[in-house]
Subunit: 604 residues, 2 copies
């Protein structure tokens, strides 16, 4: 049977570092929106999340992986203990923790929420998935719905009585939302009759809460083709009947998809309106479905980034513990076979694998935390200018913060398997499960390829390159801080040079688009995202190194000194091992090498 | 239920290219050892392998993955159809196809066998695994056993009546064979009594053949500690009893390990001698167990390389077919939503993923084919000098040919999932299964980390760098051939420069070892293997480009012209996208950056 042993999931010391030393979340309490909060309050929330993750969510991770939801009599039956987890998470106030008191929330900063919920994700991605989806769905109605809709559909979700989903993808269209075919026919009562099929609907049904609201993209009869004809509808699985009871709303589970990971969260095919009686409520303006849905999609993209980071973190801590307790072999310079074997962690190459995992995990945490902070500032900073600036940075970094943890987290999780050797390849140990989970993160909420088009085609060139200019300023600020703190000059110089390279490359590539060569501009978008991510993580590591250096100069006890030394070394690792990849990548993109772009299909 | 559709597994045109155009396998028939063979004979063998793979092995791949072997009443029960596959493969003469007629074989060149059996592996890794292991075990007895042992134990394996395994790993020792504890006590009858436990024994039991011979590492009582005290024993699961019947030999299946891939081939924990009556036969000389076993390990390492390459090939062909039939989205420059969607393969980034898979698969095939050719020449070339030269190259390239396809094959298989989008993540489609299979290949028969120590610590510096010098000569020959054929000069220059860089780096790093700093020499062994592999694959791609260019100059029909164009483009892709990674990697290794090597455990 699966061997689940205690796992910290994330390092508490590290989360405190990101939140209070690197990002200074306490300073948010000086903004009016967060003036009711305090560092102590943030720490209480953190503590309740981490305890719930370790004591409740993680022990049920393996059982939920082993017994995925099944379809019986048209309804999905989830793991019998999932209901307890749901109630526990709603009691923590997670669904509307970031929303204002007016809708029952706690008004927590995104920054704090993001780093706190990382524990929940690391403990049990699937179980937390219901919360994340429900929060996003309710938030859409909060933002775009009218008062009646909020009362009828948002409130039960925020109260944890109902769950929510996002229903975008259709079987024939996949990622191409312009091809959504689900229809919405106006009815006399002011609602719409929905007809169509959706697929890959995560959490699309469950049996622990009384209803599920599907935030659904559909076309009102007569709407134009393409994305401009798409509207957003709230479509509950059960609607309020004439007698005030919930009655079926003609939404049917057509099938459960057999996923290789995230197995506790069902992914469903749904049919709407088989009986012509599926009622949908328009959310916001007709034809504005896609831009509105992007509120949820952007939230979901950052959530996927943290899902990936959290999974990589749990796998890293598992490998770190295993490498210290499992003895095997001897140092290269001491081959005396009668000497005692050493722990795995004594071998340089095992330490390399562990440091790489650490660099990916904590680099991702830093980037995700920073991006979340821009989310808070974009709404609540004390000047219009500061809000606009944060908003641009948030948009720019969203595809990076989604994709880097997903792509490199998969590599990190594979390294966790590798550290476990043959055991890592068996379901008697944990790493293989996290590896399976991780692969989904490069696909859902926009594949890595789509994120790369978003980054290079939209975000990096937004406002004539204004977002990228701001990014350059932020990086320059970090370089100056690092120099002042006494971080090794060569590392500071390397990041500064790479930043110049990134900015000039972007201008050159954007110039192709301006000259009308859109294909040429976007041909190497994946390589551009790789370059940008590598740079962004180097930036976050230099920032972390600067913070660590400052702390060491102020003086630190032995435990803290070791922690900061780890930050220094992981920063050096990333800047010396990964940052040098940027120059050849830039050269490749600049060359516009066309081996694949112009490859005839018959030549494959 | 799993959807298995026809899949070519490998491209027949491509296999013919490697075998007859790139490696000129026909010229082997001019050597005395292969004089009875002809190109037509090779093609017949190829054809029977590919037909068996497509018609018999592949259709049973999913069923065997879905119903892995179980332990019942102390015996392993494999998939009920596995026996048919075993008989089919023995009828093809696979177990001793490369062995001489004297032991019932066909005396086929390793080169031909390697590329032909790639189909079998691509069709069903697990089913072929029994053949590969049995062949390796029988070959050990053929090489090191006496006449009686050959008659008693080798012959039934070569005849396909029994199977064989390699039994090295023990639970407490893992990769550290110096710590093997299994004991062998001399008995009055000249055999030994074996006692101990082994783990991860692939194919360690089955119910389709009448016996299994475990080639087992153990220590004779009183033997010295470490590897020098290890001897090799043949330990059958059942031995010949006094009445000429097979009787149990006190080898017990202690457990079946639950693997995430290769699920058709059981991986077992075995206990020897629980009743004090496990008979083992010494193979070869006492104390020579490890060097002798290396014959089988080296064969197995190349087999794992081809396992990985074959799995990546099947996944690549699946993605290529899917990308042509699945329509989604529109070209970047034609966003008219009323236009028809285009096939996935029309998107540049999908073509990037496919070309990367092709470059990994066909680059690996080329390297594995070349390495196999050195295997043939090391035994059968017509001069002592040529044999010695081939032997050095074979040794040098074995860790590379094992590790590159395993590490990059995993990435390629992940790309196959990615091309399939959300569907790729489900067990309704094939790619996830190949992804699971692939992860084992970086672990078994020596992890990637161990291969990197073997490459840098032994092979690259063997004979004072003689093997590496020969490698440099071979690469230089390719560069000259490519220049003469008219391959773009920049590509030739790039490989030549990278070769100089590799050779000078190796000398510098080896110098550290000579100066007594073994840790410093081997600190970046994984990066060195990465660099070496990237270079070796660039070399094989330039060779392929040269062959393609020559063929195009001679004139080719439309189908062949497209095929050669694919070779050109894949070569350009690898040399322009991957080869530039070598310079920063060399700089990193040269710098001897010590972030992880000197990382204190408490700083993680």
């Amino acid at each position: 049977m699966p061997n689940t042993r205690p796992n910290p999931l994330l390092s508490d010391r590290d989360i405190a570092f990101h939140l209070f030393e690197e990002l200074d979340a306490e300073s948010l309490t000086r903004l009016p929106a967060f003036s009711a909060h305090s560092r102590e309050g943030f720490e209480l929330f953190l503590d309740s999340c981490r305890r719930f993750a370790r004591e409740q969510l993680f022990p049920l991770y393996r059982p939920m992986d082993a017994e995925p939801p099944v379809l019986r009599d048209g309804r999905v039956r989830v793991h019998p203990r999932m209901g307890d987890l749901w109630r526990g998470m709603t009691e923590l106030g997670l669904i509307n923790a970031m929303r204002p008191e007016a809708v029952g929330g706690q008004g927590l900063p995104v920054t704090v929420f993001t780093l706190a919920t990382a524990y929940l994700m690391a403990g049990n991605l699937s179980a937390y998935g219901y919360v994340g989806l429900t929060a996003g769905a309710a938030h859409l109605i909060e933002t775009f719905g009218d008062a009646a809709l909020k009362d009828a559909l948002m409130r039960p979700m925020y109260e944890g009585r109902w769950t929510g989903t996002m229903a975008l993808t259709e079987p024939q269209a996949g990622s191409s939302l312009a091809d959504v075919r689900t229809t919405a026919t106006p009815a006399a009562d002011g609602t719409y009759r929905i007809r169509g099929s959706k697929i890959f609907i995560s959490g699309g049904d469950q049996d622990f809460a009384e209803n599920t609201v599907h935030l659904t993209l559909a076309r009102i009869d007569g709407a134009p083709a393409g994305t401009k004809g798409i509207s957003l509808f709230a479509v509950p699985a059960r609607r309020l009947g004439p007698d005030g009871q919930l009655v079926p709303n003609d939404v049917h589970v057509a099938g459960v998809i057999h996923k290789i990971g995230w197995r506790g969260l069902p992914s469903l095919a749904l049919n709407y309106g088989e009986e012509g009686d599926c009622h949908g409520w328009l959310v916001g303006a007709a034809g504005r479905g896609l831009p509105q849905m992007f509120q949820m999609m952007n939230e979901a993209r950052l959530m996927v980034g943290m899902n990936a980071c959290a999974s990589a973190s749990a796998a890293y801590h598992e490998a770190l513990a295993y490498a210290q307790e499992r003895t095997q072999g001897r140092p290269l310079t001491s081959r005396d076979p009668s000497s005692a074997p050493v722990p795995l962690v004594a071998h340089a190459d095992v330490r390399r694998m562990l440091l790489r995992q650490k660099a990916i995990v904590e680099g991702s945490l830093s980037l995700l935390g920073y991006t979340a902070l821009q989310g808070d500032l974009s709404h609540h900073a004390d000047s219009e200018d500061a809000r606009a600036r944060a908003s641009l940075l948030l948009d720019l970094l969203t595809p990076v913060a989604k994709t880097f943890p997903s792509e490199k987290g998969f590599e990190a999780n594979a390294l966790s398997v590798q550290v476990h050797g043959g055991y890592g390849y068996t379901s008697e140990y944990m790493p293989e499960a996290w590896l399976r989970d991780q692969k989904l993160n490069t696909i859902h909420e926009g594949t890595s390829g789509i994120q790369s088009l978003d980054l290079l085609g939209r975000k990096a060139v937004a406002g004539g390159g204004e977002a990228l200019r701001l990014y350059g300023e932020e990086v320059a600020r970090t370089v100056e801080r690092a120099r002042a703190a006494g971080v090794e000059g060569a590392l500071c110089d390397a990041l500064a040079a790479a930043t110049d390279g990134l900015l000039s490359l972007t201008m050159e590539v954007a110039g192709r688009g301006l000259a009308g060569d859109v294909d040429g501009m976007l041909r190497h978008s994946s390589h551009y995202l790789d370059l940008f991510s590598t740079h962004a993580i180097a930036w976050r590591w230099l920032e972390q190194a600067a913070v660590a250096e400052e702390a060491l100069r102020r003086g630190a006890g032995a435990t803290d000194a070791a922690f900061y030394e780890g930050k220094r070394r992981a920063a050096a690792y990333w800047l010396r091992t990964e940052l040098p990849r940027c120059a050849p990548l830039a050269q490749l993109i600049r060359s516009n090498e066309d081996s694949y772009a112009a490859m005839p299909v018959e030549a494959f």
